[in-house]
Amino acid sequence: MRCQLRKIQLVVSNYKGVWMLVGDCISVKEVTKSYGRTTALKGLSFSIPCGKKFALLGPNGAGKSTTLKILAGLLIPDSGQVYVDGHVPTSAEAKRLLGYLPEDAAPYLTLSVRENLEYVGSLRGIGSVSDKTDRLLDLLSLREHEKDKVSKLSRGNRQKLSIALAIIHEPKVVLLDEPLNYLDIPTQEIVNSLFSRLGATFLVSTHMMSIAERLTDNVIVISRGHLVWEGTMESLKHLGDPSESIESIVSRLMTVA
């Protein structure tokens, strides 16, 4: 009998005023990763309770994208442990739970918008693919482009499609790398509300504090491959003077590291 060891780290959480015990949906422990002589992650550790929304902040080359790729199961760490809702990211179980949107995501260029959604939905083995496709086409105002070749789409519409592809299977854990790039303000609002309705655990990598504030409630700051600071958005604001901007506070944190 095949037995899957499931790691559950119990923490106390306050959700809508109710104290409850929940497991971590993302757990990263002492992870290191090098590309040749360059070390991208040096013993990075953090965990995210299920249902929480975290921003992953850090300067260029801090290891944000590498962290997301490891969590998505596209890279393996040199050492350390990573779990997605208790499963290793490369497992079929983790893949079912996970939605991943890389920066500058490109969908399948030789499929139409609708074919992309149906193909990826089908690969993920979700039921009623056509219905879910229709719903996302309408929600993201892609209906008029459903037969368009992806290679001919505008950058904004391509990003909308990429977001739809990342969440078509209604994942429990969502990893997003600069998700609001190329989107106009009304679309950003639509996407934000779409994410909120998912009720998933979010880890959002971004350079823009304004986006981090809109999409998440908590912050993880990393620099040079290790954790610099972790806490809520509110506590981050209180790290500086009342007159100091949040960008300035984050910048200081990154520089100190």
Binding site: G73, A106, T110
Partner: protein
């Protein structure tokens, strides 16, 4: 890279020296290569620029004529690297005096320039003009085969003086036109298809009612994504044309019928076999090269590899690719069977080659493209990175296929043994779980997403 090119040339020289002494056969092959380059470069050839060139280089306060020559040199390298291979087939002829040898070598350089020039000049032409130019140029190149000696390729048929004069008199003005074209060409957009393409897919494929594995097969068995950069013409622009497999069968069936009819109509054994050899060699090169590399270029790690275990996905992609090639090549299998029962007994030798060796090698090349980290095409129109000599190693299995094709045509037993060997290698690649997971990690580390 220049060192690598020199080694490549040395390899071509070596291969050429050992490739036999049948001058007539090699003449046909050399002309065939040139025709093939013309047919690929004129309709599909792009301008060898990178996105960074468009974004930065062309925005610098430099006059375009100052860049034109550099652009031409890059264009020449992009075309010339593959053309170097044909040198190997020409060298065995060089039995004349020193002057003749030097002349033929210079002719080869001129022909490489000629093909480069045609590619540049055709870039901004309309579809019909491109098709017409490709047809006329390749007909002229092929004309010495039919006894017409006033062609730049007649150097391969003993007409060194006439061929050289024609090569010079066409290449020099064409190069001047190409340089002028590079000075003024509009590079803000890139034509990526032989014909103006629509913005929509008229025939939408329904993936919504299939299992995950069923969708993988549906994707690969209904369309063929044309290769990006390292195709036979080394065309430098990537493209995202999807070709219906059903429609592809029509030209394949026509070519197979021409192959069968030509071989059947030759009265004597040697000539019929020459047709079989040439067909086998070309198919052995074309199919694995054109049908394999685009698989990785157009794949999406963030969608496919996060949907199911990587080895499950790739195993099925690879097997569906094998089936795709089986379907595409089926007309040639049938043509060979027809020839076998109609007087060209040796044609049966090619059946294991067509049915097993070529599909297997295509899958092997597909895997090798991953190992060599071929570029991922995220946008159409321009190449996505710089040339890397390492990526040229993808041509090695193609070189191997030349040998396999030659051996297969000669002996049925050798054909079966080589097919079994290649099938075993392909099966090993497909079935080994770690092969694909390791490949994905490697690709991701190199920025593939």
């Amino acid at each position: 890279m220049l060192v690598g090119l020199t080694l490549l040339l040395a390899y071509a020289v070596l291969m050429g020296s050992f490739s036999g002494s049948s001058i007539q056969y090699l003449s046909y092959l050399a002309v065939g290569f040139i025709v093939m380059f013309l047919l690929v470069m004129i309709p599909f050839g792009g301008i060898a620029i990178m996105k960074s060139d468009m974004d930065y280089l062309f925005t610098l306060p430099l006059k375009r004529w100052e860049l034109a020559f550099s652009m031409y040199v890059i264009q020449f390298l992009a075309t010339g690297v593959a053309f170097v291979f044909t040198f190997g087939y020409v060298l065995p002829y060089m039995t004349g005096n020193l002057l003749e040898k030097v002349t033929i070598t210079l002719d080869m350089a001129l022909i490489a320039m000629l093909i480069t020039g045609f590619g540049v000049v055709a870039y901004s032409m309309g579809t019909r003009s491109k098709a017409f130019l490709a047809f006329i140029a390749s007909l002229w190149a092929a004309s010495p085969v039919f006894g017409f000696n006033y062609s730049f390729t007649s150097v391969f048929f003993g007409q060194i003086a006439i061929g050289s004069i024609l090569a010079i008199s066409v290449t020099i003005p064409l190069t001047v036109v190409a340089l002028r074209q590079l000075e003024s060409i509009e590079l803000g957009f890139t034509k990526v298809s032989i014909r103006a393409s629509s913005d929509i897919y008229k025939n939408q494929i329904d993936y919504g009612h299939h299992t995950p594995i069923g969708s993988i097969y549906l994707y690969n068995l209904t369309q063929l994504n044309l290769t990006s950069r390292l195709n036979m013409g080394l065309s430098t622009s990537s493209r995202s044309s999807r070709v219906s497999l059903r429609k592809l069968l029509i030209p394949m069936a026509v070519i197979a019928a021409i192959y069968a009819a030509t071989a059947r109509n030759f009265g004597n054994f040697d000539e019929a076999n020459t047709v079989v050899i040439i067909a086998s060699v070309y198919i052995s090169i074309f199919i694995p090269t054109l049908f394999s590399q685009s698989v990785l270029s157009y794949e999406r790690a963030w969608l496919a590899f996060t949907s199911m275990p990587v080895y499950v996905y790739w195993r099925n992609v690879a097997f569906s690719k094998f089936i795709q090639i089986e379907i595409t090549i089926l007309p040639f299998v049938l043509a060979s069977a027809y020839l076998h029962f109609n007087g060209v007994a040796q044609a049966i030798n090619t059946i294991p080659l067509f049915a097993l060796s070529i599909p297997s090698v295509t899958v092997i090349v597909m895997y090798l493209a991953g190992v060599l980290v071929m570029d991922q095409v995220k946008d159409t129109g321009t190449i996505s990175t710089q040339f890397s000599l390492k990526q040229m190693l993808i041509m090695l299995p193609v070189g191997l296929m030349l040998l396999v094709a030659a051996v297969s045509v000669i002996s049925l037993l050798a054909s079966i043994i080589s097919a079994a060997a290649l099938l075993s290698i392909m099966s090993g690649i497909i079935l080994r779980k770690d092969t694909w997971t390791g490949l994905v990690y490697k690709l991701t580390e190199h920025g593939y997403v």
